[in-house]
Structures are given as C-alpha cells and as structure tokens.
Point group: C2
Chain length 183, copies 2
C-alpha cells in the first residue's frame, strides 16, 4: 500500500494495554487515515488493537495497511536506518514542524515516524534524524501525528478514498450517509 | 483568555470516565494548545481530568483556560445559539473541512466545537450549523479537533507562547531543553 512517494510507518513505543488501549488504537487509525502504510507497536502485546484496526481496514479500505508488534524500538530504528530510511520523532522539545517540514518533505527517503508516551528514553532524541515539535505545548501524540502527516502531505491525504473500501461516505451538510460498494 | 478574534469552546459530549479518561484529557489538552479558550464536558464527572488540565495550565500557561462540566449538551448548544454563536460538529459524515473552513473562518461569530464518541445522537447533526469532516475516514476525535483548529487559525496557534507560562521550551534538534520563567 504505497500511495505516496514515500513508505511511511508509524512506530508507537511502549504501549501499555490497560492505560493506552484507546489512545494506541486512535494512533493506528490516524496513521491509516492520514497516509501511513503501517503501524508498529512496541510494549505489551494487545490483540484488541490489531483486531480493531483490521476491522476498520476491512470495511473502509486500505487492507494492505500493516499492523505489527515489534520486540525492540531500537532494532526498528536501526533496521530502518540500515535501509537508508530516515527517522522522525514527534516531541514538543524538537524543532517547530513548520521550520523543518520542507526539508523532510523534499527528501525521498522513507520515513519512520516515532511517537512515544510521557517517558521517552533520551537515547531516542539522539537516534532520530529529526525531532519535530507540533508546537511547543503539551497536547497529544494523536494530535501530533495527525498534524505531522497532514503537513507532510500538504493536506492531500484527507482527500483520498481507498480503492478497496466496502463503505464510503457521501458528504452531507446535516445527516449521515454511507454507501456500500456496488450499491 | 481571548487570544483570537473568536471565543472558541470545545464541547466533549458523553464522557465515560473508565473508557475515555485519557482520550478526554488529550482532547482538553489539544483544545488548549490549538487555541480554544475553554473545554466543556458532558457525561459522568471525572475530577482527574480537571486536575490534569489545570496542572498543565499552571505550568505551561493559559491559566484562564476554562474547564467545566455541563449537565446537558442540548442546553449548551441552545445557550450558545441564543448568544448568536455558531455550532460546529466534527464528524466524518459532514462536509470536507477544506470545502467549508473558509466560510467558518470568515464569520466573526464565536464557535462551539462539538466532538462526540461513536454514538452521537442524530439530533446533533441537525442542531449543528456545520457538520465538518476531517476527511471521510474513521480516525480520532483528537486528530479531528487538532486539524480543525489548525485549519481555522491557518497554523498560527502552534506558534503562540502563553504569556503566563512558568515553563517554556527552547527548541533543539536533539535533546530536551525547558526554561523556567525568570531564569
């Protein structure tokens, strides 16, 4: 599922099923809807998340969207770099997204977008090629991911309808209209 | 705390403390960071959310950011309309944000931005002045709110440093630097 010039994978580190279940699901959904091709998770395994994301892909399309559990975020990053990809870490401490995004966008290298929780290992800040701040205020990794991908694609990913969708929306000013494929 | 030409309040309907605790907190943080002046919540009361948001405001500024529990979302909407404000409901079934945002931005009316969960009452679709879709794929109310406010302010809210912040970030390419006020 490479709909863009890059392969983009979102890596969520240190998932804790009890605390993070819905946030991690929302991260995966945001990754999919905003144009990433896959979602990797480290931390404790949580089959409910894979299941929720696969259900969405089966109804709304992008079935090739890949959800994988990984043992080690360091190995993910090292492997990515060994294949000449670049690593973008989203953090309020980094450089402002609008100052750095033209450089990231102009590179043809595939991108691993890393989002963490409150306790991000300091090593990640040095391993990442770019530490990118979606503003310098605390908010949400879900908001940060959405804005980063939206800026990267200059808004275009929000216009795409997956070719393999069973259900699509008919936009309407007041109400709900969804259409099943072939109806 | 009116930093913009509008007063913008985000209304989260039907909060369920067990299930939504962190998502609702992230919504409140996103509302604050992206330029809303307050956050209203209906559903079950959850003092942890108010406490978390107030802690952030006390460290990072915008102390006038208002967090309030409300009994009825209908009354919130009716009250808002009675004061000539307009109501924007974020939903994947609405009109695409990029088709409708110029109209919303050009109006000087204050804005109540309503975000719900999966079971939004159908009445809300008719009561809202605008049903706005942040793309027509399922993702996250946190992502939707961030993109909506970012589009409304044309990216400018992510550049603001609150004047009453105790802590501010010094952006840096690799590492973490925060500065306390008067140091």
């Amino acid at each position: 599922m490479k709909v863009s010039r890059w392969c983009i994978i979102v890596l969520r580190i240190d998932h804790r099923p009890e605390r993070d279940k819905r946030l991690t699901t929302h991260l995966g959904l945001t990754a999919r809807a905003f144009g990433a091709q896959g979602f990797w998770i480290t931390g404790l395994r949580d089959p409910n998340i894979t299941k929720s994301l696969q259900q969405v892909c089966s109804q709304w399309g992008y079935r090739a969207f890949s959800v994988q559990y990984k043992e080690s975020w360091r190995k993910c990053i090292q492997g990515w770099k060994n294949k000449d990809g670049e690593v973008v870490h989203l953090t309020m401490y980094g450089l402002h997204v609008d100052d750095i995004i033209p450089k990231i966008r102009s590179s043809s290298r595939d991108k691993l977008v890393v989002v963490g929780g409150p306790k991000v290992p300091s090593e990640l800040f040095t391993l990442a090629d770019y530490n990118v701040a979606i503003g310098h205020q605390p908010h949400s990794e879900v908001a940060a991911l959405a804005i980063f991908l939206d800026r990267l694609y200059q808004g275009s990913s929000l216009r795409i309808t997956p070719h393999d969708a069973e259900l699509t929306i008919e936009p309407t000013p007041h109400g709900k209209r969804a259409r099943e494929r072939n109806t």
